[in-house]
Assembly symmetry: C2
Homo-oligomer: 473 residues x 2
Amino acid sequence: MGLPPNQTDNGHGAPVDVLVIGAGLAGLCAGRYLVRRNVSCTVIEARERVGGRTQSQRLGNDTVDLGGQWIGPMQSRLKALTDELNVATFPQYHDGRKLLSWGGKIQSYTGDLPSLSPLAQLELLWNDYRLKSHWRTLPPERPWSAPRAAEWDGMTVETWKQRHMRSKGARLFIDVVVRAVLTSEPRDVSFLYFLNYLRSGRGLESLISIAGGAQQERFVGGAQQISERLTEGLGHRVVLESPVRSIEQDVDGVTVRTDKGPFQGRYVIVAIPPVLAGRIHYAASLPAKRDQLTARIPMGSVIKYVAVYERPFWRTAGFSGEVVSDTGPTVTTFDDSSHDGTQPALVTFSDAVAARQWSGRTPQERQQAVLAEFARFFGPEALQPTHFAEKDWNLDPWSRGCYVGVMGPGVMTTFGEALRERCGRIHWSGTETADEWMGYLDGAVQSGDRAAAEVCARLQRAGEPAVALGKRL
Amino acid sequence: MGLPPNQTDNGHGAPVDVLVIGAGLAGLCAGRYLVRRNVSCTVIEARERVGGRTQSQRLGNDTVDLGGQWIGPMQSRLKALTDELNVATFPQYHDGRKLLSWGGKIQSYTGDLPSLSPLAQLELLWNDYRLKSHWRTLPPERPWSAPRAAEWDGMTVETWKQRHMRSKGARLFIDVVVRAVLTSEPRDVSFLYFLNYLRSGRGLESLISIAGGAQQERFVGGAQQISERLTEGLGHRVVLESPVRSIEQDVDGVTVRTDKGPFQGRYVIVAIPPVLAGRIHYAASLPAKRDQLTARIPMGSVIKYVAVYERPFWRTAGFSGEVVSDTGPTVTTFDDSSHDGTQPALVTFSDAVAARQWSGRTPQERQQAVLAEFARFFGPEALQPTHFAEKDWNLDPWSRGCYVGVMGPGVMTTFGEALRERCGRIHWSGTETADEWMGYLDGAVQSGDRAAAEVCARLQRAGEPAVALGKRL
């Protein structure tokens, strides 16, 4: 697996087989996959930390997650990985009454849904069936080739909602789902993309549920640990604080230029969100379809907040901590107490339009507004947290929004193919490229393994001819 | 207008009052405005040429335009500028029969519209009225605040088309309009954005017409001349081949870092499309709303082709050269002969989905396919051009698509404000920020003058206090 001798002096050790860009979960899983097969690699990260969209932080006596934090029962790839890495999980607390704040009025409920009008309940039941019958027609690897793909990619979720739901309750439900799951408004999202997200996450109920769903369990010690333990296994192969500025490829290999100097390899795996991949300079230029794709997958908008308290006063009062609100900064709220219950806490999210409104305020204004909402839900004790933390993901230059890159109408049918299609020596990874649990940690694991397997297959092919870049690109 | 002494040694002469990024028409007009008011400025351009989305090239014995090329009768800003610069215009040729190729079948016609079914004609008439009554309600500077803005920004043009047009002919008409005017598919575009584009360009008829419309006249010697003559006036102030990598601002001023070193000034005017502005690094970070906006205005998709011939065989046969086609690479075609008629030529565009399909092919394949279509329209003489030129704007790294940045649903209502709102010492220009003739040369002129006027007003304000960046940002 040698490189021409003129490529050995790059100041960062010898050239490697594979350069991986991004030390989030996808990139680190790619690294692990390669190292296990004795393929040399370097994982290059812009930040001073690993973990990407997972970020854990000490707060009070516990570690809290300011990024991704949940694992569901059907996320087998993530489960296998965390078992292997000895990262323990514990159930998301959800005992007690839930709250819905709708137009400023609070109602509490115990079942899956708040008490909506009979029409709303009927519409939700019928449309749940309709959505399922739609997303089941999507081929997982090519959802844009479904028989009705053009029709569904021609409209927003908002249009579909208006067309099929008359009741305010059912419409509110769709708003909340899109905000909570995609940190976007229904008008921002292609209906085809939404259907594919449902497919990828095993359906609506799976995506929005705690027990049996994507929010079932949390990680003892925080989700960033997964990336940290993967990094321990990779050792010197992970290089931090090295923003990638350009990727140059020719018939011999690849040069990746960073703020810390160049790296050289035979192949590259780009394991960062498309919107960030689009900010790298490529030579030769990427195909127009790929370049224009990266201009069409903006990240959703979210700010996350955690408040730590002396006592779990909401539990004492019979509440689970779950709140959904259609006003103010707290769109969805959950109990966020430590695994042993010794440190009570609440976590909440400004999703979508709320994130866009509250991102312009000061941290003090946000904290005050969040605590005022908590007090409205659970009483005045909420105004006195012992600790408070927040993260505005929209302002993080190495994410530029969260949780995931989202497609508006017209993008998937015209540009979808470019999401995973390799460009010469460049392979694409990151949870946006997963066909199961896209947008989740589990999708990141899948995408890292898949991209690494693609590269391994090329390396193994004996006497692989020099890639005709002009043609492939 | 002094700067602290530690900012004088930047290797590019003394600091200036205003740094302008982009030597397209917008940036050069900003430069002209500033220089006329004795405000010092430097215009920094990434390319080795000025003119941005206008690009003229010698082909045969004439200069042809591979970028923007038309001026309409209501584009008074552009008209005043070109008169002053002594750039002459001449009428776009349009005498004779036009062609519509629909599903591979060709029909010719003489009026404004091909012979469509009575239903199609009725639907077009009625919906033309409907569109006009809609866009007239949009406030030019804040179209997102129109009474029905949320409803219109919740859907695609495709959704509106499906809802209000039943006939195939009327639907085809909308497809062609959106492709030709916005180089996008109806499913890609927010209906609110489309309405605002109609408003900004004085209505549908104005946008799509030759006589009396936006394609009425061309420039003798090509449209890039306008920028070249502006550059002559600016002299040493225009610096080419200097891609901007970062913009740093503090209470004292601004540092712009380029591949040719740093530039310093008191204010910056960023006169490039939002998608390119989003690829620059900013310190302090921009507000989330501005950053997320730049991830949500992709450029349309277009490849432009010019074929030069010995004889104007289409004119001889009674055709104007105008063709609209819903298949193949030639979406819209026009006569492109030289102003004195001595060099006959045709110009055509792969717009929207056609551009995305044909961008992946080789130039030879494209040329062959374009000429085959010309032959289908006008006879076999079309297969023998004396010269042929093309430009794939999607692959140009300093445009990344053309003609203009386009908004899908949800963008304008949530992020529209950030389009022109200054961020500390940074002011935004470029045709996307115009409120008249947005997307056209005339809009570029307006946006350059407007941004320069904003900065002049700040400079003139005696004893302007140091900008509290943390707050403004």
